[in-house]
């Protein structure tokens, strides 16, 4: 009896080993997050026991001016960072893709993507040194939101450049020549033809850099000033002094914001990808139809 049941279990394991393994991996990845979200709805301060559902920590959150302030600061910083990074990244991508031959091109392209692989601690530390020196010299910038935005933009620009350059590289350049041939001045060419054709990549770059900025803690930690703390920083500070379920609530909100950004980004790129595939298919079908028509008339 016992042997047969253990054999059955073994068989079951063998049959579903792949799925089981996947489950373990996902649990490892998302278990902590689920745990955190669950306990943000706990009715008591208990850490280990779920005592009942309540939204009291979310209410507490609303009354915690540091958390609320941190959230809005993070939002503001992320929006500005996303916008600045996308604009600067687009310029950099243009230079990289369009000006194939200028002195120091490979150095420039290396430098643009260096922040992608540089340890954030180093970026934060070196920026701090620079900002302090600059402030000492010209009295600006005061450490705070401005310096955080500058730091995040440095990193964000590198990401935005990669995203926009990829799209720019695959764009057919002759349509720009066609526009010029039909009477467009260079600036009109950019706004009427180039921009509409790379727009999806700009949106993707914006969302990516927004997300990056919104959950960054390392660079913010180096560059924030007294009394200026982003949401991740506030959470970090609370956690160091002992956990409190309202941090769980704050973290849940953070997770929600970031994953919304990531999901929107993936949907957007996926949709663009699918549209490209569909278009290619439609064109091939149209081609076949027209050939058939011709064979028919011939």
């Amino acid at each position: 009896m016992k042997t047969s049941s253990s054999q059955a279990l073994l068989r079951l394991l063998q049959a579903h080993f792949g799925k089981l393994w996947l489950l373990v991996v996902y649990l490892f990845l998302y278990g902590p997050l689920l745990f955190l979200i669950l306990f943000s709805f706990n009715s008591t301060r208990q850490d280990a026991v779920f005592t009942g559902f309540s939204t009291r920590w979310y209410e507490a959150l609303l009354n915690d001016s540091r958390l609320v302030g941190g959230f809005f600061l993070s939002l503001k910083v992320a929006v500005i960072t996303g916008t600045l990074s996308t604009i600067l990244g687009t310029f950099a991508a243009f230079v990289l893709v369009r000006y194939q031959r200028f002195r120091g091109r490979s150095l420039f392209s290396g430098l643009v993507s260096a922040p992608l692989v540089m340890p954030e601690v180093i970026i934060g530390l070196s920026l701090l040194l620079l900002m302090v020196a600059v402030q000492h010299a010209i009295g600006w910038p005061e450490r705070g939101a401005t310096t955080i935005v500058l730091g995040h933009t440095l990193l964000g620009m590198a990401y935005a450049t990669v995203v926009v350059a990829a799209r720019l590289r695959e764009m057919d350049r002759t349509i720009e020549e066609a526009a010029m041939d039909l009477g467009c001045r260079p600036l009109q060419v950019f706004f009427l033809v180039t921009l509409p054709n790379i727009l999806p990549s700009l949106v993707a770059a914006w969302m990516l850099t927004f997300t990056l900025s919104f959950d960054d803690v390392v660079i913010s930690e180096f560059l924030s000033g007294p009394g200026v703390t982003t949401l991740p920083q506030v959470i970090f500070g609370y956690a160091r002094r002992g956990v409190n379920p309202s941090i769980y609530a704050a973290a849940t909100i953070l997770i929600l914001t970031v994953s919304t950004g990531i999901i929107a980004y993936s949907i957007l790129t996926m949709r663009a990808q699918r549209r490209r595939e569909r278009d290619a298919q439609a064109a091939v079908l149209a081609e076949i139809r027209s050939v058939e028509e011709n064979v028919g008339t011939a």
Binding site: D181, A282, A283
Partner: protein, 367 residues
């Protein structure tokens, strides 16, 4: 000599045009003259500089030296958007984010035409290329042939003084290409625009163009009507490039004012006109395969008569092609229309045959 066209004043003139890319000379001292209303083809193999020449006309490339005159005005320094010239791109370059109607209207909007006029003009253009029903579609929803017509409509919408076509039919399959050739010429002629087109397809150039410039390595080797280029090539490259041809190297041995003889390895070729050269000078004889007669029995002629063995026979429906090997191993291509000379029907592999041509038919090339 052949570089220069016989018309000194044309609608479009290029004067000693040169374009250098680093160490490559893409366009080398090109002077051509194009008349109003002409369809002028630049013909040459890949990399000979025809696209570069077209792009200089469009304004996308600045010539290293030389002038481009349109109606007497030097436009070499004008940017593309200030030239009364429009181009149809090889890849069509339709705007993927705009529908067909907006693609055609694009150039008109840029010149600030009132909306009502734009509407009539676009409708007129779509009518011309028979795509009225497709106005709301995006370019990728059309077949290659339809996209090509949209590109044509878009480049004609602004009523350019000069229309440039870069490999206009290059992206279409063979069947569609032949039909579209005539359609395209028909549309161009109904609009009455002057056209410069680029092609590497000699058949396309022959059927569409009123005159052809044959290019090689950035130079224009010969300019002429399709018939002139085919019947009277002025140099070896052109003779060899256009259609099939048999070339024999030899020396001038007799040169009188109404006849001449040229000694080639296989014998003597008689020509019915003088060359005006010096005895012994090296020359090349070019004879088209269809100008050569072939027979199993000895014909009643005694000049320009040769013999050999049939090595290959190709059947092409309306004509057959024979490859005949002469005694010394030299091969000659002869084509015969099928069904015209009954005695040739039974020529087969390894037959010993005679072949000959008239004294008027060979072309004598001096270089």
């Amino acid at each position: 000599m052949n570089q220069h066209d016989s018309h000194p004043s044309g609608f479009l003139l290029t004067e000693n045009l040169v374009k250098r890319f680093d160490d490559v000379v893409a366009v080398d001292d090109v002077s051509i003259s194009i008349q109003k209303g002409e369809i002028f083809a630049l013909l040459g193999s890949s990399g000979c500089g025809k696209s570069t020449l077209l792009r200089i006309l469009a304004g996308f490339e600045k010539p290293t030296a030389g002038r481009v005159l349109l109606n007497g005005l030097d436009i070499a320094s004008f940017p593309p958007y200030e030239r009364p010239i429009n181009m149809m791109f090889q890849s069509y370059a339709l705007f993927p984010h705009l529908n067909i109607w907006d693609n055609v209207a694009f150039g008109l909007k840029r010149e600030g035409m009132p909306p009502a006029q734009i509407k009539t003009r676009v409708e007129e253009m779509l009518e011309l290329v028979q795509l009225t029903a497709y106005a709301k579609r995006k370019p990728h929803q059309l077949s290659g042939g339809q996209q090509q017509r949209v590109a044509l409509a878009r480049s004609l919408a602004k009523k350019p003084q000069l229309l440039l076509l870069d490999e206009p039919l290059g992206a279409l399959d063979k069947k569609l290409r032949q039909r579209t050739q005539f359609e395209l010429v028909h549309i161009i002629e109904s609009v009455g625009v002057t056209v410069v087109m680029v092609t590497h397809d000699q058949e396309e150039a022959m059927t569409m163009a009123s005159r052809i410039a044959v290019m090689s390595h950035g130079r224009v080797l010969q300019v002429g009507t399709p018939q002139e280029i085919y019947e009277c090539p002025t140099n070896r490259f052109v003779a060899d490039f256009i259609g099939n041809i048999n070339l024999f190297d030899g020396q001038l041995s007799v040169d009188e004012h109404d006849r001449s003889e040229i000694t080639i390895d296989q014998g003597v070729v008689h020509i019915d006109h003088g060359i005006g050269g010096s005895i012994g000078m090296p020359l090349t004889i070019a004879v088209r395969p269809e100008k050569i007669y072939i027979s199993k029995t000895r014909p009643n002629v005694n000049v320009n008569l040769f013999s050999g063995k049939v090595r290959e026979i190709g059947y092409f429906g309306s004509y057959s092609s024979f490859i005949v090997e002469m005694q010394d191993g030299r091969t000659v291509v002869v084509t015969e229309p099928n069904g015209s000379r009954l005695e040739n029907i039974d020529i087969t592999w390894d037959d010993r045959v005679f072949f000959w041509w008239d004294e008027a038919d060979p072309v004598v090339l001096t270089h």
